[in-house]
Amino acid sequence: MKTRVFVTLKPSVFDPQGRTIVQALGSMGYAAVRDVRQGKYFELDVDTDSEEAARMLATEVADRLLANPVIESYRVEVEE
């Protein structure tokens, strides 16, 4: 089952990559982009047919490995 995990920096944490992108966009003429935050995105292929099981496993994996709780938060989605 395909599962997706989004990892983003917590709002309080400064995101140097996002800032650099906003600056670059500004100089390219995209001033309408007020803010950018960069995160990570994972597609997991989980060996199960149960949506519930896939979600639980992905959540555990995100919690233990994919995200660092000091700076990041995460969200899990299971593909229907």
């Binding site: 944490v13 400064f14 140097p16 990559q17 490995l65 994919l66 660092n68 000091v70 700076i71």
Partner: protein, 235 residues
């Protein structure tokens, strides 16, 4: 003589440098410990060296923290043994929760290799005991993710407890934005735990142990550990 265990993770690349500095420059005993080992080989001091453990994939230090040897390192630290994490080793200690905080991408997003100056802020750790308070050290850095971050409360606590051990500064010791190479909060280059036996820092003392390489200022960090071990042995 003190015995240093140098932990080798897959992708460590300053393991031999640490080993060489301990054994051939300081004349102490050095042992490599493979990350799958569960025995620290009688270590008095544990070194987590620099490099790119697991390629630094995902996050620096994120995968290495699950290595079997890390439970030994944790037990060693819990028993009060001196542990130092250098660069990637610092990142591993943070990921493993042995130190507080995290390391973000450098402010300018680029890898940066150069000499910097740091000020020794605390001399009551096993890695700074031989230094003078406020001593300025010229040390190399070489990292892409050395921008130290912790939540504001954590930073306040670290400062209040005198856990900031090294801070980036200009050659004469003053703090300034331009002397902070990577954007670290409060110009923090290295911290210790509450108990003060676990120290992590981004600069590479093992690269600064011989004048032929441009600086000998890193020796005091490793020599402090030797002195700490010897005096503990005598006590």
């Amino acid at each position: 003589m003190a015995t240093f265990a140098v932990i080798e993770f897959p992708g460590s690349n300053c393991d031999h440098d640490a080993y060489y500095a301990v054994k051939h420059v300081l004349g102490q005993r050095a042992e490599f410990v493979w990350h799958k080992d569960t025995d620290l080989r009688g270590a008095d001091v544990v070194v987590l060296p620099g490099g790119f453990s697991y390629g630094d994939y995902l996050r620096t230090g994120a995968i290495a923290k699950f290595s079997p040897v890390m439970s030994q390192v944790r037990a060693f630290a819990d028993a009060g043994g001196p542990v130092i994490g250098i660069c990637n080793g610092f990142q591993v200690l943070l990921e493993a929760g042995l130190l507080e905080g995290a390391l973000l991408r450098n402010r300018r997003l680029k890898f940066l290799c150069r000499h910097v100056h740091v000020r020794v802020e605390q001399v009551d750790t096993p890695f700074t005991g031989e230094a003078m308070g406020g001593q300025i050290l010229k040390l190399p850095i070489a990292h892409g993710e050395g921008n130290y971050y912790a939540a504001p409360e954590t930073v306040s606590t670290l400062e209040a407890n005198h856990q900031v051990v090294f801070r980036y500064c200009a050659a004469a010791g003053e703090r300034s934005d331009t002397a902070n190479p990577n954007g670290s909060i409060n110009a923090i280059a290295g911290v210790c735990n509450r108990r003060r036996n676990v120290v992590g820092l981004m600069p590479h003392p093992e690269r600064a142990c011989e004048s032929a390489l441009g600086s000998e200022d890193g020796r005091v960090i490793l020599e402090s550990a030797v002195a700490a071990v010897l005096s503990a042995g005598v006590a």
